[in-house]
Subunit: 284 residues, 2 copies
């Protein structure tokens, strides 16, 4: 997983979205429908290649998790890229299923690695608390919570979580991997028209289940079952707390991945590899 | 279909939403899954009744058409209403499938008829024209148009259609039914964040296929295949024009039904029955 394409290859950045409902997550798995698998198959077909060009992704999402601003890169032979560059998007649009869309395919700047060059990832988690349920048209990406939620209490709790911490209490354990993360943003807003609450969760990187555990803790504060200080107390204990409920995946959407200026991409990738052993496994 | 509940009955107004994707439309049909059928079954079950209480609806939507602001009424025996009033919403929420939600169930004012008392219906039709397709998370209620659309041209054409006209050119013919309608609003906006174009279409009532034919004509103007004056020329001809493409149903959502002040409900119902023979069949 280098930060330069091999000689004779072009590193292509892909910006894409998917509805995670009918996928077993991003990462390729035998006999499972995955986002990575669908895109690699489509690329192979539209470029009439016999080989599969592996994708590297910014955020490996779990089964049921969506993405609107996912980023990946793929290294294509120069000849393949030259032949297909112009029509690649339109052909992929025709070949890919409607629950995956690729918006942009363009040569990446030197030093670009979709995963290691990323500065941060921004997720949204959406929740409806209307007694009747969730708008049928958005039920695929909005969780229903059957108790009214107090926005201020949730934001009070959220403010105590931001910053660099050991998020062990909110992460699925993985041998040898650090759970130190910098949570840059955790903030709730309520849409005045629909009443839907959206959490914005942004960090340099996330460990597995981290976002959905943070949301689970927040909902217990929002519906009054726990005080606003509780999530931070759990955080301080640094051990997985069975009282923290990991919410369902369908409310979670990867909205954006940010990268530094081109000149800083390679340095960022090196930094991300060294400072912390980023998790090899899933992310949310 | 009177404007008063029979003695011993309470007329209950229901405000509801549904995702039309997996329904054969609103109106009950044997061996077909319909919105009316699902709700009447749920009502029968939660009230433990042996009889079915028939629903009267404001806008009978076709297969695949959604609703966010649909209104219906049902006449329930006073004893049934008294027993179930308090828990009806929560029980219906538990019994109904997630693609139908009832937000409110409350006694209707005297003279209320969900269909005939309505002043107007407001629909939205949503279209995406990004080359890559439509956001996978909203593809269920947004149509993809594979050519870029000119908002100004579409609004120029739309302005020529507003007012009271014979919309025969845009309606599925139905013997004995008038196609005179008052199109109160036809206006396009583009969401700056998503790029999705939304048409707001509001009229006292619609004849069958009218909205989707109006949208089909507008899209031909938007992508440059037809001039802005064309839809109005078709309108003036008063005969169904094969050049008018009826767009697919999934972009269409009934957003709101408006009613007059309580004191005017009965008069409005009488007016709606007399002035025009409102269509017995489908609406959009």
């Amino acid at each position: 997983m280098s930060d330069q394409a091999e000689p004779g290859f072009v590193r292509v950045r892909l910006d894409l979205s998917y509805d995670g409902k009918d996928f077993s997550g991003w990462a390729k798995q035998t006999s499972r429908r995955t986002v990575q698998g669908e895109i690699e198959d489509a690329l192979r077909t539209v470029t009439r290649s016999s080989v599969t060009y592996d994708l590297t992704v910014a955020g490996r999402t779990d089964a049921g998790v969506h993405a609107r601003g996912q980023v990946a890169h793929v290294d294509l032979p120069e000849a393949v890229w030259a032949e297909h560059e112009e029509k690649l998007l339109r052909r992929l649009a025709g070949r890919l299923p409607l629950d995956v869309r690729i918006w942009r395919a363009a040569p990446a700047p030197a030093g670009f690695n979709a995963r290691f060059s990323a500065l941060w990832r921004r997720y949204a988690y959406r929740v409806g608390d209307r007694p009747g349920g969730v708008d049928p048209l958005t039920r695929g990406h909005v969780l229903w919570h059957d108790r009214p939620l107090d926005l201020d209490a949730m934001n009070e709790a959220a403010a105590l979580m931001v910053g660099e911490h050991d998020f062990a209490a909110y992460c699925k354990k993985r041998e040898g991997a650090t759970t130190i993360r910098t949570l840059q943003k955790l903030r709730w807003v309520r849409d005045p028209a629909t009443g839907v609450l959206t959490a914005t969760v942004q960090a340099d990187a996330f460990c597995h289940n981290m976002v959905r555990a943070l949301i689970g803790a927040a909902l217990f504060v929002g519906d009054g079952r726990r005080p606003a200080a509780w999530p931070a107390e759990v955080l301080a204990a640094k051990v997985r707390d069975p009282g923290v409920h990991v919410v369902r995946p369908h409310g979670l959407t990867l909205e954006e991945v940010a990268y530094p200026a081109d000149a800083l991409l390679a340095a960022r990738a090196a930094e991300a590899r060294n400072v912390r052993t980023l998790p090899g496994a899933g992310c949310c």
